[in-house]
């Protein structure tokens, strides 16, 4: 995956470039808005990571110009401004996701991978991971021959996890996408919901499909692969 990081803080940018390379991605760096825009227009990137406050041209304007030119490369906005209205502004400007500083690299990586996948992703009616199947139209979930009964919220939780099967999904991503809450619920409520879901889809079946990724979040994946 090719990434462009537009960030004026040299230390933060170096850290990100290094961290993304370590996990096997290619990352380029632009130190201001104009340079970032020029690199992004030349294309070839799968995801842009754009700091909101940049010299010469601010992050939202970079994304706005790209969208005006018809360039739809997914963009993730990084910002210290984390209130709901700031997010809304960022997403309206054409950003695809919004992450508030300070963030953990695991969170950023998970979101970037989801964005990169979304690009080519087509919407399927039935998600499958190993022998677990989720039908988005009939709302039926089966594992092997057995039908699994889920509460509506559990269904949406599983749906989101299976849509991003094989990718790490963080707790905040779940809270934002499944519950539509953008605040920190203090206690790790998500963990409890996950363990409930796990007891329904994994208990009594092998192999386990819903994995906890330490320090990052969760992933649904076929353990055999």
């Amino acid at each position: 995956m090719r990434l462009l990081i537009i960030e004026d803080d040299r230390d933060a940018a170096d850290y990100l470039v290094k961290a993304f390379r370590e996990v096997g991605h290619v990352a380029d760096h632009a130190a201001d808005g104009e340079e970032g825009l020029a690199l992004a227009v030349d294309g070839g990137y799968d995801v842009l990571i754009v700091d909101r406050m940049l010299p010469k041209r601010d992050g939202l304007s970079v994304i706005g110009v790209l969208r005006d030119k018809g360039i739809g490369t997914p963009a993730l906005i990084l910002s210290a401004l984390g209130q709901v209205d700031d997010r809304v502004k960022g997403l309206r400007a054409g950003g695809d996701d919004y992450l508030v500083k300070p963030y953990s690299f695991a969170e950023l990586l998970a979101r970037v991978e989801v964005l990169a996948r979304r690009r080519g992703g087509r919407e399927e009616t039935v998600y499958r991971v190993a022998d677990l199947a989720l039908d988005r139209l009939s709302h039926r979930v089966t594992r092997g021959e057995d039908e699994i009964l889920l509460q509506p919220r559990e269904f949406r939780l599983l749906e989101f996890l299976m849509k991003h099967a094989g990718q790490v999904v963080t707790r905040t991503m779940l809270l934002e996408n499944v519950w539509d809450y953008h605040f920190d619920p203090q206690t790790n409520v998500i963990d409890v919901h996950i363990s409930r879901l796990r007891s329904k889809i994994d208990k009594g079946f092998t192999p386990p499909l819903l994995h906890t990724i330490r320090g990052a979040g969760y992933m649904i994946r076929d353990g055999a692969r």
Binding site: P102, F183, D184, P185, Q186, G215
Partner: protein, 478 residues
Amino acid sequence: MTALGKLLRTTAFRLTLVYLVLFALYAALLLFFFALNARRLVTEQITTTVNAEVAGLTEQYERGGIVRLGQVVEIRSRRPGSSLYLFATPLGQGIAGNVASLEPGILNQKGWVEATYRRLDAPEGNEHHALVLVSELPGGFHLLVGRDIEERQRIYDIITTAGRWSMAAVLVLGLGGGFFVSRRILRRVDAMTEKSQTIMAGNLSNRLPVAGTGDELDRLALNVNAMLDRIEGLMRGFREVSDNVAHDLKTPLTRLRNRCEAALRNAKTEADYRAALDSTIEESAELIRTFDALLMIARAESGEAGRDMAEFDAAEIAHGVAELYEPVAEEKGLRLVVEAPGPAMVRGHRELVSQALANLVDNAIKYAAPVPQLVPAGGGGGPDQPPPAITVTAGVAGDHVALTVADRGPGIPADQRAHAVERFVRLEQSRSQPGSGLGLSLASAIAHLHHGELRLEDNAPGLRTVLVLPRAGPQRSD
């Protein structure tokens, strides 16, 4: 600016001046008309008298000719307070009358005329003015009858003099009064200005003087003082918060640093380092969480978030938040139920209200005590279900919507409830629980942002927290 200049510039003095000019103009106009009318009245009286005399004398002339007229004129001339008479030949030589000298040419003008004359009995040089009627008798003889108008002039003079004097008195009194009133107001305003300068210089506990008369200056002073009370309260809160922030953030930062130093000193294996780093990350995540909560409180208190308000159903929020926390409660063996049947529309910030309620539920789960399964007959709950340990309700009450979270835990003693809402406050009994001590303050700040309030009440036993928000929409409560 000189003291006098300042005085002359006051609103009170300017108002006095305007009123004074208006009043003086009115008085002058009144006096002028009065004088004019008095003069007209006197003139009318003179002409009536003279006309009657002329009619009488003409009759005498018609009856007895020149001789008779001459006699009558002589007799009338000698009466005290008589009119002026002059009976003259066609050439102007006097035959009878009481006029010694007359302005030349008067006798040749027929009709009414004002003339200067001297009476026969008056000394030389004592000329008077008179209004006279000159008529020509058959045969070219002239008859002049008139009355002195000095009196008319005197009345006119008295009135104008009185007018001038009273005008002067009005001016002096008005200006004096204006000075007095303006000086009084100016003194009060100066006192206020002085006080506000000391307040600006940093003495926030000072207040503007209030005279106690309840006038507009007092009202202004009272309002400004109320504003100062609020500002002082905010400043005090701000100072306390800064102190608390410094303290509550320094403690975990010190812990963080100590742990890193200990790891550098003692760690032998990679696993040791990993454990130290893990705990460092955890600690910093906690710090970030605290910062976020502080920022949220600041944003809510500044009213900034008040811009994107919308109408939403509080009952739906109650169900959503309860659904999020229900598994957590269950894991602790607590039954959490929601009682929010109907729409309870609120105008506000959906996300923030959700967060406030989430904080309250989170709090309740932390402190709630499970209710024993076995309840005495007649107690609540079904045969299998224990009574709920935590109840979340949403409902309309008058023109408010109340979101309530009730638990059956230890509760908060009445005298500590107000304290519990303050930032970073963690009551003794809760020191053992994890948390930033900001949950209730954030809920309270969010309630205030919506012009509502957060109430802590006794649930006997336990704590009942009520988030009171103003109701939206036209629907009536039953």
